[in-house]
């Protein structure tokens, strides 16, 4: 979806000598919302587990940020994998990392092309995801632990990492403080999910509503997130006023 035609885009690419991959978004608003884009150019990093981990102006993207999130990412994209590894790739596409590891083990044992490398990458990816969830849990980000942990848990084999994640999820399900924080995290997401801010008065309303949430969930991780949302709404208001 673009204001430019495909032919104009292709001509522009050729003219600039751009070599990066590009594509066209069918749902512009949805895409802009998904990457937190408030203008042009905007960029975002999506980590190996499919989470938006950063967004902002391309010039503010740092080497350190990239390095941090490269941990656990596959070294080779699926479209460069040998066809014989198709079953593993299918599991990766569906988000079944545990299944992919099981497939990769069998594949490596049979001497499949790049088997050892694929297996090592997948195991590293799983380890980093678990470490990430442990860190989020310690930080009080129960929404992320729940969101990502619930889908990861069934893919894990019995063992300490699985038991630890299960313990986290049980804590979130039963602890009153965790439930309160989770409620706040869901509340602000529901609020900002209502759609983009197109008018100054919408920004004022959003800021007001967020402030109420921040007070309600004060002292929790949710309140920290809400404060950031207030900052973003204020920045949007400033941009709208400048137009």
């Amino acid at each position: 979806m673009t204001g430019e035609s495909k032919s104009e885009t292709e001509a522009w690419i050729e003219d600039k000598g751009a070599e990066y991959a590009y594509t066209y978004a069918a749902n512009m608003d949805g895409f802009m919302r998904a990457i937190d884009a408030g203008g042009y150019p905007s960029s975002a990093l999506i980590d190996a587990s499919g989470m938006v981990v950063w967004s902002g102006h391309p010039s503010s993207l740092t080497n350190q940020l990239i390095e941090e999130h490269l941990v656990g990412a596959l070294r080779k994209p699926l479209f460069e994998w040998p066809k014989s590894a198709a079953k593993i790739a299918k599991s990766v596409r569906s988000g079944d990392l545990g299944g992919a590891i099981r497939e990769a083990k069998a594949y490596a044992e049979k001497g499949g092309e790049l088997g050892a490398e694929l297996l090592a990458d997948l195991q590293a990816s799983l380890t980093s995801r678990l470490e990430f969830l442990n860190q989020r849990f310690e930080a009080g980000d129960f929404f992320t632990v729940l969101e990502r942990g619930e889908s990861l848990l069934p893919t894990l084999e019995e063992g300490e990492p699985r038991a630890r994640l299960q313990k986290h999820l049980e804590h979130i399900a039963t602890d009153t403080a965790a439930q309160n924080c989770l409620e706040g995290q869901r509340a602000w997401r529901k609020l900002v999910g209502k759609g983009p801010l197109r008018k100054v008065k919408d920004c004022d309303k959003r800021i007001e509503d967020l402030k109420k949430l921040s007070e309600k969930y004060t002292g929790t991780f949710a309140a920290e997130e809400i404060e950031r949302q207030i900052g973003l709404a204020r920045a949007t208001k400033t941009k709208l006023l400048e137009r």
Binding site: T2, G3, E4, E10, I13, A18, E19, Y20, A21, Y22, T23, Y24, A25, A26, G30, F31, M32, R33, A34, I35, D36, A37, G39, Y40, S42, S43, L45, I46, D47, M51, V52, V53, S55, I66, E67, H69, A73, P77, L78, F79, V92, R93, G95, D121, L122, S125, D141, E147, R148, R189, G195, P196, L197, R228, Q229, L232, A235, T236, K239, L240
Partner: protein, 62 residues
């Protein structure tokens, strides 16, 4: 930087100017967003980048 970025995937979506939107950092990138006509890559869909660190960039040109 170039070396690091070589691990990432440059995926550029060409979009027209839009109003600012709410932040989604810390949430999963929606799986139901459709992208078409991938160019300058063997990938045919965003799923082909599964398991990778992806750098996406939205910009317009004029």
């Amino acid at each position: 930087m170039k070396q690091l970025l070589s691990f990432a995937v440059g995926l550029v979506a060409w979009l027209v100017i839009s109003a600012p939107s709410p932040a989604q950092v810390g949430t999963p990138f929606p799986r139901d967003l459709e992208f078409k006509d991938f160019a300058q890559t063997p990938a045919q869909s965003l799923e082909d980048f599964s398991g990778r660190l992806i750098l996406v960039e939205a910009f317009a040109f004029w």
